[in-house]
């Protein structure tokens, strides 16, 4: 009988541990995801970017660029080329974004015009409020 009760005790202990090591992960899994470290909004003054000029900013971890497109308003794009990850450069004369690695060419809307990139550049949320341009 002693053996039986020892085994039952062992069973209870192991069983509870097993159950606990399932319940704990599942409960933590259910917890709501942490507020993705709120990427700080970036605020730029309109005056900083004259027509046809651009300004480079860092949005969270992503290098980005705000362009004052002549006649078409402001746009904020990620500078990360969708081909292999190099950073594109803004070419004022040609009005394009060109990647120095393999000559991928993007329009100022971020669309791929030539070269190897498979996808357009990511567009970042941009709002104009009074004298400020707010990204994020």
């Amino acid at each position: 009988m002693k053996r039986r009760s020892f085994l039952s005790l062992l069973l209870a202990v192991l069983g509870t541990t097993a159950l606990g090591s399932f319940v704990y992960p599942l409960v933590r899994f259910l917890a709501p995801p942490e507020e993705k470290a709120k990427i700080k909004k970036v605020i730029v003054k309109k005056n900083d970017i004259p027509a046809s000029e651009a300004k480079e900013i860092l949005f969270g971890n992503t290098p980005a660029i705000i362009i004052n497109r002549y006649g078409k308003g402001y746009i904020a794009l990620s500078k990360v080329c969708t081909h292999l990850g190099c950073l594109v450069d803004y070419n004022k004369e040609k009005k394009k974004l060109i990647c120095p690695c393999h000559a991928g060419v993007f329009s100022l809307e971020g669309h791929v015009e030539s070269g190897p990139p498979p996808k357009p550049l990511s567009i970042l949320p941009l709002k104009v409020e009074g004298e400020d341009i707010i990204i994020g």
Partner: protein, 364 residues
Amino acid sequence: MWKKIKKGIEIRIGLEELISNSLKKYRVPKDTNIFYTLGIITVVAYMIQAVTGYFLLLYYVPHSEHAFNSIQDIMNNAPFGWLIRMMHIVVSNLMVVIILLHIISLFVMGSYKKPRELTWLAGGCLLLVTLAFCLSGYLLPWSQRSYWATTIVTNMPTAFPVIGDFIAKGLRGGDYVSGITLTRFFAFHVAFLPPLFLLIVGLHIFLVTRIGLTTPPFNKSAEEEKPWTEYRHVSHPNSYPFYPNFLLKEVVMIMVFFAITFFVISFMPTLFIPEAANTPADPLKTPAYIKPEWYFLAPYQMLKLIPNKFFGISLQLILIGIFLLWPFFDKKEERNILKRPLLLVVFLLSILLWVILTVWGRYS
């Protein structure tokens, strides 16, 4: 306190009698071997899949742009998400292994014979539903392997002259695999297949318990040799009750199953995740050697080798038909396979063929 609750339930639903009838009176022959537990392990594996699946549903996004990234989220950002996803992957593969062992042991012991033909048929359908689960499941991560293996599989119905194209387009939701395919397969995997599986499993288990377990044919059992002309639940003179003896045996095997699962997760985490399964899908780039999961390698290799598409697929369908309806083909009453050399040879030949095709498919 515990006794009071038990008494309360007892007067309301007659718990004692229920347990006594279905669990204690249900007899299990004494010479059952380890293979008799494979059935319940499959059910447990399905439960694990369902539970981990529900949890994965919390984070997974079934859209071609987000699917792969949502899975990376589960693996890296959600607490213990990796554990849930790894369990889902490993158990899905182990479940197929267990089912195959279950089928082989049943075949060898002749347990499909009269009166258990329907049980075999239901079981065969369960195998097909499981494979459908596997197929629809591994498109969901939207990796290179997912995309291209699904392209091949959904092109297979086109071998049939008239309805082939229609079926293929219906499966894919178009002319080629796209986000629409993903949504459809997700619906199959999560909504259509589970109730179907549960329905057939219910039937299968009902049939097993209604008729009773077989004894292994390697010892004489006069009881089993009486011809089946009317219904009876098999009685085993040399047996013990299902509860607690056999149930405990089953629980041991279930624990072993869990231990094997965690062994694989700890020490062989990439066993079921080849490189192509860890790269996001790229419809413009076909990887060099696409292979489906291991359980599909044999039919895949066979299809590759048979030059005519239509002939290849028809042959496979015929083989599936023969498999499902086998109890109706093999009517001899002798259950001991060692006493039927012809059948033994055919059986071993098929297994050998399957193994050769699988290994060949793996390395070709």
